[in-house]
Amino acid sequence: MNALDYVILVGSMMGIAAYAVWNTRGKRDLRGYLKGSGETRWLTIGLSVMATQASAITFLSTPGQGYESGLGFVQNYFGAPFALVIIAVVFLPLYRKLNVYTAYEYLGHRFDSKTRLLGAGLFLIQRGLAAGITIYAPAIVLSTVMGWRLDATIVCSGLLVVIYTVTGGCDAVNLTQKYQIGVIFAGMVAAFFVLLARMPAGLSFGDALTLAGGFHKLEAVDFSMNPDRRYTFWSGTLGGMFLALSYFGTDQSQVQRYLSGASMRESRLGLMFNAVFKIPMQFFILLLGVLIFVFYQFERPPVYFNKTAWSLQAEHDKGGKLRSLDSAFTLAHAAERRQVEDWLGARRAGDARAEAAARQGALSAQERVEAVRAETRAALDAAAPGTKANDSDYVFITFILDHLPHGLIGLLVTAFFAAALSSKSGELNALGSTTTVDIYRHIVRREASDAHYVVASKVFTAFWGLVAIGFALFANLAENLIQAVNILGSIFYGVMLGLFLLAFFFKRVKGTAVFWAAIAAQALVFVLYSTLSISYLWYNVIGCAACILLSLLLEAALGPRGARRAPAP
């Protein structure tokens, strides 16, 4: 990065944060602080919901997924439109009717105090951990490739978001997210067109897709019923629907976004905006990764995208193992490139037989390339066993730094930080609200002035911000970053969704049965996760089903004793 890139990065980030702080000054009542001014329109809500979900991990890691595995990951989002419609029809009217601050307040109204606390507790644990990942994920990748200090990157970006979220509350979050997502889209679209412009002369978009398809990167929809496959149409639609239903419907970081709408209409349209645009957005980001894969057929990529980790080990490469792997990779890539060029030549000449032979040759050459990569990863792991980060997370940022012009590099790095800050601010806002409303005001101090609760809310928001920064400073993640967040969510969200579905649709089930069933179901999910190897999306379904079934059984067993209503929350 040069001076221009840094000016764009620092100017945009500080400018957006300062504007939000200035624009939301003077919000002093609890309603305004936690739910906003009540004037938020549907587009702001839609963008805010999108920005809260799409963190920096989405934009850094997803192109790497596309590069490695193609478009299949898009199926993970197939359940989102169904879930968002259900939320607009069922969840939203109930939340608005009861005029709640948090989703867990509703559990208190419907069941009892302990179930409300259980819901809030599950949210605080899951989202508190996820907030750490949200801030850690971009910091580890960006600090590595930029040569920045990891701890300084985490602390600087973490403190900036804490400051404007604490100062401006819900309105500041909504406002910054609108501008941040604008920066993100501008950066991603610019990267897409520059990537197309950097493709070899004469290679049309159709040629690029033909190559991608030939390497099995465009297999977006898999209708097979194999539960061991991580992404299929069925796991994505059914498991993804449960995940999205739970995330958008019961996670306070999302509920708070659409409850800030000026009316039911604005909130609903904001949700429908996401129902329509979520899949195309993910498709576009994955396609970017697939096209980077095509680009690197003609341009030698690094044998290991995390160049810093590579360089560090290469310095101590006593036996010359890494050097020889690098040479082997150069030869394997050159062989693959020749095959790809033959393939394109045969395609243009209309020689189907030669095209099929060259394609087969390219696939074999690609296998050799992947084998060298795997050997390199193994050699690096053996040399530094603590290095666990997934190399695919470094694909997009490496492409940006190596092949995009200055100015655009600054814009893209700004986009990653904007994405990190936008989702983080939504999470902190929700963690602070839940701690204030469901724990502090509900248990610790029931009667106090609005001003007191606003101060408490600010203190709790800052507290969670510092917890997330602390977690990020000590995090060490093995999985691909975006999967780590989804796995964490899937472990908790099923039971959470079960609680809400019981509240909405099973009128005769009471708090005591639900409370113990939820605890048992959560324990079951923990046990299954540590013993089975099924797609993690299924844990949303299992957790939810177990919570509902166990509640019904317990309710039947408890009978009239369990039917006694607990004191009002």
């Binding site: 439109p81 029809v89 897709l209 465009l218 329509v276």
Partner: protein
């Protein structure tokens, strides 16, 4: 005559009812799945 409420009217020129909006969302989903399937068939 009863005023249309948030709950029944979308306030949009089209679709005017929420049922229409939800139908549209589902239609868009089907189109996306079809297009994605077509993409893998066009470039096998």
């Amino acid at each position: 005559m009863k005023e249309p409420t948030d709950d029944t009217s979308t306030g949009l020129p089209w679709p005017k009812r929420w049922g229409g909006v939800y139908g549209l969302v589902m239609g868009v989903f089907v189109v996306w799945v079809a297009l994605l399937s077509l993409l893998s068939r066009l470039f096998p």
